[in-house]
Amino acid sequence: MRSKITEMVVVFAILVAAVAMWFVADKFPNSMKYARIDSDFWPKLVCGALAVVSFLQLLQQAVGLRASLQSASAGTRSSVDPAYVARLVLIGGLILAYFFALQWLGFVIATLLFLWAASFATPYSNLTAKLLFSPLFTFGLCLFFTRGLSLPLPRGQGIFYDLSLLLY
């Protein structure tokens, strides 16, 4: 029941976004050279079609919702496990933090910290493996990319940039 309503909210949000993007596309700067196939030509087609299709989907779901309301046995249990949400938020937050840390602290420090944090956030008993894995993997990968392949890694900012320069 609740999942069906959430789903309708999502579809509705897509519908609103599609309409909004149509108007954003309408404001694109015009080019005289390509007047008939200007920048907004294709986006408007796509946004328009998306709006129509999501409207139809919304209708279909509304009909489905009414049908399931009428049949009283609609109570499909969709209670979400709070532990599931907690774990999701935790790992999601860690990944997000890692993304920002990469830019501020550079690859080595950020990765060291992230791997430690993420492995300790999940239940796994082998402490030595947890402690050792992070530095080994970080330095291995760092060497492979910077020395082996000459591909750049994020260096961080300010003082961390200079620190990273010592390594790669």
């Binding site: 596309a25 920048s39 294709w42 690859f107 894995f133 890694l153």
Partner: protein
């Protein structure tokens, strides 16, 4: 012609170093392809400076082997970790990973490997016997034909997945919409970038698929917590049995043909080939609703197509000097440095080189069967490691690879956003396959439509009156109508039955 082969074989036999090079390049290619973000193009580009030291034949064998290997390599990580190592393998993850989760990782890898080798050999044989005529055929493809081809792939969106057509269409249109972010390829105006300078690059395909598959998967696995439920423990790599093989023979043949032809078209490569082969496989299948749940055809189709596209993309390269894909474009650069001018005369003036490449690519494909089995086994050992270490390591690898690809932090942000998008799409029952097809084919469809309109002075009929474009468009339209009617009838049957329009079932997919 036989003389040329013999002379090329003679060259290679008198120079055993070439065989070593092929072995090395296939291994390097597979390893490179399997790491997310490190695509075949990067693998080839990084080796170009090393080819300075070799003679041109050796150099080209090296690059060709990497190209062959990397096209397969991506599927290993796609199947085992739901992390497509290269864009060509994105499609393989759609059915490969579900099959691995059913405890058949070995079978999935085996199918991928065998299909890759078959597709690769097919493409190479076509390259050997029919390069000049096929290259001329490729020249018949102008913008209208590219548009029709993209439409053909896009219309398959509706037939993919077991859920509602409307949701599949929504996902596909979202993909098309996301593909328009960035600089307009025609006018050079920024679109939907909202002032961000770095977003002008647009939503990269590699960051998006890595987010949708790999990050969403990590989120899902961590969310589910430490259940022993679906640990993949079958890590053997068995080639499929003859019986299983015969079942997919038509898919293999069709996909190899699609792969070779699309590969031969300049500007579109293995990724497009894989998706079109996948959508055709599901369109012609007797059980299209099972696609995405781990069917053998769902692995065989994209893998044979993307490897056939390798041979295919060498066709215009060797016959006309026009690269058929981004990777071959990089290889052209390598050739020029050696003083070889890619062009129609290459086959006459450098026949040893051309025929050595034929033989080398054949060998590389056969070698891939041997090496691939071993390497896949080593990779599968990672599955034995605890997910508390593997999961975060996958995140780090994805971040590093995606960053190294374009050095653009926005790509990382794109990857994160699409991690959430991929997670949400699975949760709300929107087929991921449709979304990605929209993302891949959207830019081709848009640009070729606009180019075509310009070239025909805005005459829309030009698109349907040209034989190839007209046929493809007609077929797309017919199949779309057929699919919609079929869906409508099914929905009618469902409504008349005891359950309402279903949403809970597809949410699990």
């Amino acid at each position: 012609m036989l003389d040329s082969y013999l002379s090329a074989l003679g060259y290679m036999a008198s120079n055993p170093f070439t065989f070593l090079l092929i072995i090395f390049s296939v291994v390097w290619g597979i390893a490179f392809g399997s790491i997310p973000g490190l695509t075949g193009i990067v693998g080839v580009a990084l080796l170009i400076p090393f080819t300075f030291a070799f003679d041109p034949i050796e150099g080209l064998l090296l690059l060709g082997g990497v190209y062959v290997g990397s096209t397969f390599g991506g599927s290993i990580s796609a199947i085992l970790f739901n992390t497509p190592g290269s864009p060509e393998a994105a499609c393989t993850a759609l059915d490969g990973y579900p099959m691995a989760r059913k405890g058949q990782a070995g079978k999935a890898l085996g199918i991928a490997l065998a299909a890759s080798a078959i597709g690769g050999i097919f493409g190479t044989v076509v390259l050997m016997v029919a390069a000049p005529p096929l290259a001329r055929l490729a020249l018949e493809f102008g913008p209208p034909e590219y548009f029709a081809l993209a439409v053909l792939g896009i219309t398959a969106i509706a037939s993919i997945g077991n859920g509602s057509v409307l949701k599949a269409l929504m996902a596909g249109l979202l993909g098309l919409g996301v593909a328009t972010i960035g600089l307009d390829p025609l006018t050079g105006m920024p679109r939907f970038t909202f002032g961000s300078m770095m977003l002008l690059t647009g939503v990269g395909f590699v960051p998006a698929i890595i987010g949708i598959f790999a990050l969403a998967e990590v989120l899902q696995r961590f969310g589910e917590g430490p259940q022993k439920g679906y640990v993949i423990d079958d890590v053997s790599t068995e080639l499929p049995t003859i019986g299983e093989f015969i079942q997919t023979r038509i898919t293999l043949l069709r996909s190899s043909v699609i792969g070779t032809v699309i590969g031969a078209l300049p500007g579109v490569g293995a990724t497009t080939a894989a998706f079109i082969a996948y959508s055709e496989a599901s369109r012609w299948s007797r059980h299209p609703e099972k696609f995405g749940t781990g069917v053998p055809e769902g692995i065989a189709a994209p893998e044979s197509a993307n490897n056939a596209a390798v041979g295919g993309s060498m066709i215009p390269l060797l016959a006309l000097g026009i690269p058929g894909s981004a990777t071959t474009a990089v290889m052209i650069g390598g050739l020029t440095i050696h003083g070889i001018i890619p062009g129609p005369q290459l086959m006459q003036t450098n026949s040893d080189l051309v025929y050595s490449v034929f033989i080398g690519m054949m060998l590389a494909n056969l070698l891939m069967l041997l090496v691939g089995v071993r390497m896949a086994r080593y990779f599968a050992l990672v599955l034995k490691a605890p997910y508390a270490l593997v999961g975060p390591a996958i995140v780090v690898l994805c971040m590093t690879g995606v960053y190294a690809l374009q050095n653009n932090v926005v790509d990382l942000a794109v990857m994160l956003v699409f991690g959430v998008v991929g997670f949400a799409m699975r949760r709300f029952g929107f087929p991921v396959a449709s979304f990605i097809i929209g993302l891949v084919l959207g830019p081709i469809a848009e640009l070729s439509l606009r180019q075509g309109l310009m070239l025909s002075d805005y005459d829309v009929t030009a698109f349907v009156t040209r034989p190839i474009a007209g046929t493809l468009l007609l077929f797309s339209a017919a199949s779309l109508v057929y699919g919609l009617v079929g869906q409508f009838l099914r929905a009618r049957r469902k409504l008349n039955g005891d359950t309402g329009p279903d949403t809970s079932e597809e949410a699990k997919a």
